[in-house]
């Protein structure tokens, strides 16, 4: 029986496209804090401001994705000797256009707790479980961003 492998390859190629464009956008579903930027500075300036804001808010820099206009911090780790008390946070800053064509900047802080029962002070043994996003820290992050962007003009 003869069949062509071309359709199969095509399907495989199409399904692998999202993986090529970077990590999945799981952060889209989180709780964001946002603010309209008017007038909006150049994108490069905004991305640079993201980096300063992230550092000033206490996060180590992680991945800067200029194509998605997103900066993701490294995990800010706070291990504790008791189960469920250890925490880690990751900040995300993003700039995009809303439906009205305005430029908006958004912040989000993902929060997770360490649920491992064993060595709670060993980050290698940690077992992280997602919690509610940290809205307070997200607002603080956005205020740091505002301090960078509003005072630069």
């Amino acid at each position: 029986m003869r069949f062509s492998v071309l359709p199969l390859l095509l399907v495989l190629f199409v399904t692998s496209l999202p993986a090529c464009s970077g990590p999945t956008l799981e952060d889209e579903t989180g709780r964001w804090t946002e603010r309209v930027l008017e007038p909006a500075p150049p994108m490069r300036d905004i991305m640079d401001a993201f980096e300063w804001s992230m550092v000033n808010a206490g996060f180590a820099l992680g991945e800067r994705d200029d194509s998605r206009h997103t900066l993701t911090s490294a995990w800010d780790l706070q291990l504790q000797p008791f189960r469920n008390k250890g925490r880690r946070w990751q900040g995300i800053l993003r700039v995009e256009k809303n439906a009205e064509g305005e430029t908006i900047v958004k912040s989000r802080v993902i929060q997770e707790k360490n649920v491992t029962q064993d060595d709670t002070l060993d980050s290698g043994e940690a077992d992280w479980e997602r919690m509610e996003d940290d809205m307070i820290r997200s607002r603080i992050l956005l205020q740091h961003l505002v301090s960078q962007l509003h005072l630069a003009g």
Binding site: E38, I136, I140, H144, H150, L151
Partner: protein, 176 residues
Amino acid sequence: MAQSWSFRKRDATCSDCNRSYQEGEEVYSLLRLVEEELQRVDACRSCFDQRDASQDVVYWRTSHSEKRGTMKMDFDLLLAAMEGMAKDEREDRRDLCYLLALLLVRHRKLRLERVEMRGNKEYLILRKIRSQNRFPVESRELEPERRQKLTGILAELMDPTAEGDLDSALGKEETA
């Protein structure tokens, strides 16, 4: 007073009476709000004493020198001005207080501890470095024009003789 004040440069004359300063003479630099407009004035002692003090935001004293190229405001003075305005209920003061708070947070003179929602308003809870006292400053949504005007004046306040932007002015301040 100060009808034709230039934000770009401090003149060698009083903003009010236009009298030329003598070498070493006391000069009072004043930031004031007049009908929501932030103004900066450099006045001689006589004109300073006759001012309407209710419009003051902050003032500081210096001495005139022909040789000195720049006159800068230090962060402690800004901090004192902001603390005073933090208790002021007037809308224009709150706007300026918020921007000053952001400026001081940006330059790590204030620590932004957390934010609190009180009703539908957001407050920054701030703490001075090496202090345990915390105080709130309301987060404001400023119109772009007003924000740009206020931040422009703040930039000049940091270094009124500089022709550069806020970043360059603040860079000089920190390295001074």
